[in-house]
């Protein structure tokens, strides 16, 4: 019966007329006994006998209109009934009836529509403007009915509105008399509640209709309804869902209050997930579902509104005493008003201890709406939305909420506020520490490689989040990092190696504390992650001055991975800092023993040995080995130069080493100082380093210290040779832009006229440079 296409049919929550007849009837299960009763009544409404008319009473979403259509389709499909009756469904929202004449005109129009009659007789009567249009319209309508050899089954939504529109007793009596005496027309109407025209003893239609209450579905009926929906639409997952998620279904039942329209909406959520449009549907449903409720509440006397508000915000059943305390109204007044509100159908008594009555809002879904819209603290307004999501998606609530928060945060300032409130509510309502952490991880994962993470602090309370997940700070730091980097790293907080990668990235940005925290996270996840222990110790030792702790961590790393020389070498450094030189030497030697080719181990051993002048030769050997193994490490070159320079006779031997060090790391301050000491007066040494320095300055224009050193270097070179040579050296650079002014100074030195060609501000600097050059050179 069902086909794949049927799963794409609209659920037609608000307009059952959109559903194809076979689908509407296939899904019409929960109220099937009612449908059968109504059809039996129609069947037994014989001609020439007073007819039984009927009325369906139920609040919004209970299935009144759907039932009317179900009756219409059933009658049309029944061979015998369809010969006797033509179902005529009035437009649900028709506002055309103002009096009894309008009613007959409308009946005429709707009959023509139902019978595919192009007549438009109603318009003809209106054009004629007959003084007795009511009689004319009724006669025209009955003419058509008679000619069809059938009788009219008028299916009228909101019958209470129609009767209220007519309102005058005289035409109402006429209508009643007609319906009592004439068996050609049967009325099956709907209303959202019992109304005066049928309950008031003095009204013509008092007890005129057989009334069927459309009560909320029971839990079993709800399950049957969901199964029928699923079967009709070919959804195979629902039966399994109903079996596996009994708790969810029970919770859904409580929240929906057995309302068929809400049940259908949740069916859609179960099968399609919470996409943006579904969220909109849910919010729309909440909005649309309670306008009458809102109008009713707004019309209440002030005191009742206050009491209503107190009960609604409590959500759970409350006693009179609680309401009295909150509202500061006397208990007897509260009791009286609660009774009045109960009479109005807004509040009901909860099943509780017989001697201590408790009260709650009668319509539970409206209670959710009220809390969402009127919660005292703005942050409460998402509490119930969160509760709904948790209920419908217990297995993926964190991901769902995170996605909603991210989507919201992408919608501007208001959206970010909503996202913040939503996440706050979700965190507050989480059942455990673990679920809070899951939510936060889901939130970060959801927005990790999106632009939204950049505004994280706007839509997530980081202080609150940190209470639940200390590593929030690290993630928040990444919100300032390039998106590409985040994309490359991915978000894998359960992976220790991922935290290592994060820590490396943080190290490169010299965020030492955060990097340490990231390494700590890595070892928390994997206590045997030796590398993480070692690197953590390295940061603690080198950048955070926590030497003692670093030693402990390094020994742990060595314990885990005894063969890794890096840990022993780093331990040597730490022991050196602690003044335990003999142990440090042993550590370095042990590292070298493990990895004879470890350049840094040799370098640090050399550094240790260099501390003791009587061990210079050993230090020299260590450094030479280090530079041999790793020619790119400027530290070793510098240390070698320093050791050699201790012997004045070996300064010339030291100089190439510091030149090499400075070439490798132009911006290193100690390198610059040592170079000045050893090579400052050697033009060839300057000639060797100045191109590297200049290139570095061009690539790092913000570093003024190295730039100044470079400028001084060119000036010194000019002094040692001549300005023209310095100029020639500058001109040979691929990028001279940082040194244009310096070049001007050398030109001006040769040609004073050159000064006059310069702009005044450049002139001033050139003059300053010339002065520096002159003073130093004594020229």
């Amino acid at each position: 019966m069902s086909s794949p296409q049927q799963s794409f049919q609209p659920l037609a929550l608000y307009n059952p007329a959109l559903l194809p007849p076979h689908l509407l009837l296939a899904e019409f299960t929960a109220r099937r006994p009612l449908l059968n009763s109504l059809v039996e009544i129609i069947r037994h409404n014989a001609p020439a006998k007073p007819l039984q008319h009927a009325l369906l009473v139920g609040s919004r979403g209970m299935g009144k209109t759907t039932t009317l259509w179900a009756v219409a389709y059933t009658v049309k499909a029944d061979p015998k009934l369809s010969r006797q009756w033509l179902p005529v469904v009035f437009d649900e929202e028709s506002r055309r009836v103002g009096d009894l004449a309008d009613f007959w005109l409308e009946a005429l129009r709707q009959w023509e529509h139902a019978a595919n009659d192009p007549g438009d007789r109603a318009q003809q009567l209106l054009d004629k403007a007959d003084a007795n249009i009511e009689d004319a319209a009724r006669k025209a309508f009955l003419d058509k009915v008679d000619r069809s050899s059938r009788r009219a089954l008028l299916l009228i939504d909101n019958l209470n509105d129609l009767l209220a529109s007519i309102h005058d007793p005289e035409p109402l009596h006429r209508l009643r008399a007609f319906l009592m005496d004439d068996s050609r027309v049967m009325v099956l109407g709907t209303a959202t509640r019992y109304f005066d025209q049928i309950t008031d003893l003095d009204q013509p239609f008092y007890d005129f209709f057989r009334v069927f209450d459309l009560r909320p579905l029971t839990l079993e009926e709800m399950k049957t309804s969901l199964l029928a929906l699923a079967q009709a639409r070919g959804d195979k997952s629902i039966p399994k869902t109903l079996e596996e998620r009994a708790g969810t279904i029970q919770g859904l039942y409580i929240l929906t209050g057995g309302n068929p329209r809400l049940i259908k909406t949740f069916y859609r959520l179960l099968t399609e997930g919470l996409r943006g449009d579904i969220r909109t549907d849910l919010e729309r449903l909440l909005d649309e579902f309670t306008p009458y409720f809102k109008a009713v509440v707004d019309a209440l006397p002030v005191q009742q509104q206050r009491i209503f508000d107190a009960v609604a915000l409590a959500w759970d059943p409350v006693e009179v005493g609680s309401v009295s305390r909150v509202t500061r109204l006397p208990s007897n007044q509260v009791s009286a008003q609660l009774r009045a509100l109960g009479k109005a159908g807004l509040i009901s008594e909860a099943a509780s201890h017989p001697k201590r009555k408790t009260y709650l809002l009668a319509d539970r879904f409206s209670n959710i709406h009220y809390l969402m819209r009127h919660g005292r603290a703005a942050r409460n307004r998402f509490d119930w939305f969160v509760a709904l999501v948790r209920l419908v998606f217990p297995d993926s609530q964190a991901e769902t909420l995170a996605r909603l928060a991210r989507q919201s945060a992408e919608c501007g300032a208001e959206g970010r506020r909503d996202a913040k409130d939503l996440l706050h509510s979700a965190l507050a309502r989480a059942e455990s520490v673990e679920s809070r952490r899951q939510l936060l991880h889901a939130t970060f994962r959801e927005s990790w490689d999106t632009g939204t993470l950049a505004s994280l602090s706007d839509w997530l309370d980081l202080t609150e989040a940190k209470q639940h997940m200390p590593e929030v700070e690290i993630v928040a730091f990444f919100s300032q990092m390039p998106r590409d980097l985040r994309k490359m790293l991915g978000y894998k907080p359960a992976d220790a190696r991922w935290w290592c990668g994060v820590a490396s990235a943080l190290e490169r940005r010299e965020a030492w504390s955060l990097a340490a925290a990231a390494y700590r996270k890595a070892v928390e996840l994997d206590p045997n992650f030796a590398s993480a222990w070692g690197r953590l110790a390295n940061i603690l030792a080198l950048f955070l001055s926590r030497i003692t702790e670093a030693e402990e961590l390094l020994r742990k790393a060595i314990e885990i991975d005894p063969k890794k020389s890096f840990f022993r070498a780093t331990l040597g450094n730490v022991l050196t800092e602690l003044g335990r030189y003999a142990e440090a030497e042993e550590a370095f030697k042990a590292a070298i023993e493990l990895t004879p080719d470890s350049g840094y181990a040799w370098a640090w051993l050399g550094a240790l040995l260099a501390e003791h002048p009587n061990r210079n030769p050993e230090a020299e050997r260590a450094f030479r080995r280090a530079v041999q193994l790793d020619p790119t490490d400027d530290f070793s070159w510098t240390c070698l130069a320093r050791v050699l320079a201790r012997d004045p006779a070996r300064i010339s031997e030291a100089r190439p080493n510091i030149v090499k060090a400075l070439q490798l790391k132009p911006d290193d301050g100690p390198n610059q100082i040592l170079f000045n000491e050893l090579c400052g007066n050697t033009s060839t040494d300057w000639q060797s380093v100045l191109p590297n320095l200049a290139a570095w300055c061009a690539a790092n224009p913000k570093n003024t210290e190295t730039f100044d050193f470079t400028v001084d270097g060119f000036l010194q070179y000019a002094r040692l040779t001549k300005p023209a040579d310095a100029l020639a050296l500058l001109q040979a650079l691929p990028d001279t832009s940082p040194f244009e002014t310096l070049m001007d100074a050398f030109r001006a030195h040769a040609d004073r006229e050159h000064l006059n060609r310069l702009a005044p501000e450049r002139q001033a600097i050139v003059i300053e440079l010339l002065n520096r050059f002159t003073v130093r050179s004594g020229a």
Binding site: E170, H173, T199, D200, D202, D207, R210, V211
Partner: protein, 397 residues
């Protein structure tokens, strides 16, 4: 017998009330009848039963007057109904065979539009001449016509709203004199309606215009009848219900009005039970559906409307009666009610000024469906149904 809630019932759906019909017939033989009772108690159904099985020698004409708002329309309908009945090709009464044709001819000549007759200086309504002509015709031809005028009080109200009290007074006066003139003839009138005739005319100050009617009130079913009705409804509508359940229903309702019995069976039907409900289940249905559920608004309305239909003093008396009666161990006698009135108005002289207040209030409460007075014995007064009684207990607790 199908469940029918709201419309008048006919044929197999009508529970026969031979004794009641016989009472009405006997009363009609002696004069004109006002057939009174609360709304939805089956008066129209009884009239339809009379039409289906007319008393010997009568041509019954059932007219629903609520669709009219003028005396002319009423008269016109009486004439039209007469014409239709006489023109029917059915076996006719002897009278009809003999004088029917002549009657029709004379009837055609009466102008019910009332426009042609003009009497200068006369305050006579325009319809009067036609009415008198019609009356004369009826009297002279001794037509055995039984006019069953349904919704007569509602019609009077509509006429008041549409025209004036004077118009109603004129019509009722004419109608009274017509009844008087026809008292020795074969024509008879029976009036009934879904709102109280006495309260309508009393409000208009026209009580004397109806005091010649032989008043007959529709009683509830006897217990045996009620049980039988319940069992038949259950059987014919596939509702599981045993005798114990039926008796329990009667005990709960406290009044054997057919509509209440129909309502209860329909609630059981809606439950879709597969076996006869136990008394506890019936208790729950009674409580949740009838007292607190669907009937609750009706009860609220009944409570609120007292101040609309009564003066302040009458309303106070009515509320006191209902408040006390709902807690009484047994129905009230006349003495009980007079004592209650005396408690409210202790001063004898003051109370005598309001001589008919108690009677009027009781009458109104009966015809509005609050109270029921037993037809025999001490004619004690009780609540017309336990639904209202139990509602009052809760309301005035």
């Amino acid at each position: 017998m199908k469940l029918r809630i709201g419309p008048p019932v006919t044929g197999e759906d009508f529970y026969p009330r031979p004794h009641l019909i016989q009472t009405l017939t006997r009363a009609l033989n002696g004069g004109h009848v006002a057939f009174l009772g609360p709304r939805r108690t089956g008066k129209t159904s009884c009239l339809k039963s009379i039409v289906a099985n007319p008393p010997d020698g009568y041509v019954p004409l059932l007219l629903n007057l609520e669709k009219h708002h003028s005396i002319t329309d009423w008269l016109r309908e009486m004439a039209a109904a007469t014409r239709i009945a006489l023109e029917k090709p059915a076996p006719k009464l002897q009278w009809l065979k003999e004088t029917g044709a002549d009657f029709l001819k004379r009837l055609e000549k009466i102008d019910f539009h009332g426009l042609k007759i003009e009497l200068s200086g006369s305050k006579q309504p325009a319809w009067r001449p036609a009415a008198d002509a019609f009356l004369k015709l009826l009297k002279e031809s001794d037509a055995p016509l039984l006019f069953l005028l349904d919704e007569f009080p509602a019609f009077l109200n509509l006429v008041v709203k549409k025209t004036s009290r004077d118009e109603v007074e004129a019509a009722l006066n004419w109608f009274r004199s017509a009844r008087h003139e026809l008292s020795e003839s074969s024509t008879r009138f029976l009036v009934t309606g879904s709102i109280g005739l006495k309260s309508v005319v009393r409000r208009l100050g026209l009580s004397p215009t109806i005091n010649d009617f032989d008043v007959r009130e529709i009683p509830p079913l006897k217990e045996a009848e009620a049980l039988d009705l319940l069992q038949r409804l259950a059987a014919d509508n596939n509702v599981p219900l045993d005798e114990r359940g039926c008796r329990h229903i009667l005990q709960l309702l406290g009044a054997n009005w057919p509509i209440l019995l129909q309502l209860f069976v329909s609630e059981i039907q809606d439950e879709a039970v597969t076996k006869p409900p136990a008394p506890s289940a019936l208790d729950r249905l009674y409580r949740e559906r009838l007292v607190c559920g669907s009937r609750n608004k009706y009860c609220d309305n009944m409570f609120d409307r007292l101040k609309d239909i009564f003066s302040e003093s009458e309303c106070r008396l009515a509320r006191e009666i209902l408040r006390t009666l709902c807690r009484a161990q047994r129905p009230f006698s006349r003495e009980d009610l007079e004592s209650l009135h005396a408690r409210l108005i202790p001063h004898d002289a003051h109370r005598s000024l309001l001589a008919d207040e108690l009677d009027y209030v009781l009458d109104a409460l009966k015809h509005d469906g609050y109270l029921l007075q037993a037809a025999s014995g001490e004619q004690r007064t009780s609540f017309a149904s336990h639904i209202l009684r139990d509602y009052w207990r809760r309301k005035t607790a």
